[in-house]
Symmetry: C2
């Protein structure tokens, strides 16, 4: 694994998708796949696939194709999925609860350790065996438990303050579901899930289709 390569964000965004398809292939007992076969499956061109995977030193062999398991493991390692991540959720509303319940992440090495809220009626509740704790104590908790990722499920108006506090406490990543863009220090990674933006893109494409079919 070449750690010094600078890889574009567009390539990084495609890696989890490659990984998902490779996992499916493994489940089906497929050992190797050519870039052409992979292309017809995943929808990227064969040359795009070769170019993307060359960024990491290229795992394919001429005339053989890609080793499915090997490539899956390499991509997992590149993404950092060979480690475990400790996460907390801020905001125990519906979205926070859904994320807490979204057990897929447990399997994949992302462990939700706690949920924080300011609402006294929620503090002390358990969601999927995870306790809702008082937001007042969040910095101490993050420090003591060496939490890596903060998941922000608060309102738009509280999100920046929560982000500041989490960064101060020492998380190295934020997964933000609040519909606002947050400012974080350079050493903290952030990934936004703007659900409303996604829905608005969908509306655009629906109307575009309707116009084209008129």
């Amino acid at each position: 694994m070449k750690k010094d390569t600078k890889i574009s964000n567009a390539v990084i965004k495609r890696l989890p998708r490659y990984r998902r398809y490779l996992k499916e292939l493994q489940k089906k007992g497929v050992d190797k796949i050519s870039s052409n076969e992979f292309s017809s499956l995943i929808g990227y061109t064969a040359s795009q696939i070769r170019q993307d995977l060359n960024n990491f030193g290229g795992f394919g062999q001429q005339g053989y194709g890609y080793n499915v398991e090997g490539l899956y493991n390499e991509i997992s390692a590149i993404l950092g999925l060979d480690k475990e991540y400790k996460m907390i959720i801020v905001g125990a509303g519906n979205l926070g609860q859904a994320i807490a319940n979204y057990t897929y992440y447990y399997k994949a090495g992302f462990v939700v350790c706690g949920i924080f809220d300011i609402n006294p009626r929620l503090i002390g509740l358990k969601i999927n065996d995870i306790e809702v704790m008082d937001y007042e104590n969040i910095v101490e908790y993050v420090e003591e438990n060496q939490i890596n990722i903060g998941i922000i499920c608060t309102t738009k108006d509280s999100a920046q303050e929560v982000a500041d506090k989490l960064c101060f406490a020492g998380v190295s990543g934020l997964w933000n579901f609040a519909p606002v863009d947050l400012e974080v220090p350079d050493h903290v990674a952030i990934e936004n899930v703007h659900l409303s933006d996604s829905l608005h893109s969908l509306a655009y494409h629906m109307n575009r289709n309707a116009t084209e079919n008129e």
Copy 2:
């Protein structure tokens, strides 16, 4: 509004973000904004902003800047947000319930009309005043109520079958939360929210930062 322009998907993806910032500006009582001011706020370059907005005929005036309210309304119309959309959710698990409760969308013209599940223990329940109905009756319901958007909150394994049924019943858009890429007819728009892909990108960037700081 020029309906015949072909606009790249990258531009479309940025429009909801422009709109969010314009809404914030409106709330703060800002009437007009130059592309330079907008740039320092939103983080795109001023030339990118001008180029993006020129796709739609360009709403700025030399030496004046953009009319905040006018631009907000134009972008809303381009995205199709001046209409109302009727939606149903398939899958009344945690994620489906969170989406049903995510009341933001009600305000913005996206109305959740019903939730469907195959689990007899969930059918008949009400989530945020929305009834959970039997998946058996979904085609009839979509046809009778002229549902526009199907929201897929099922497992990966059921998602394609659900998508097929919704497309057959006549929805024109799918908002897919299942961690799988779905095949849909050309006239149906689809937008995927792959939460695990997003989390995996976050992990990558966290590790990249750690490596750079070593």
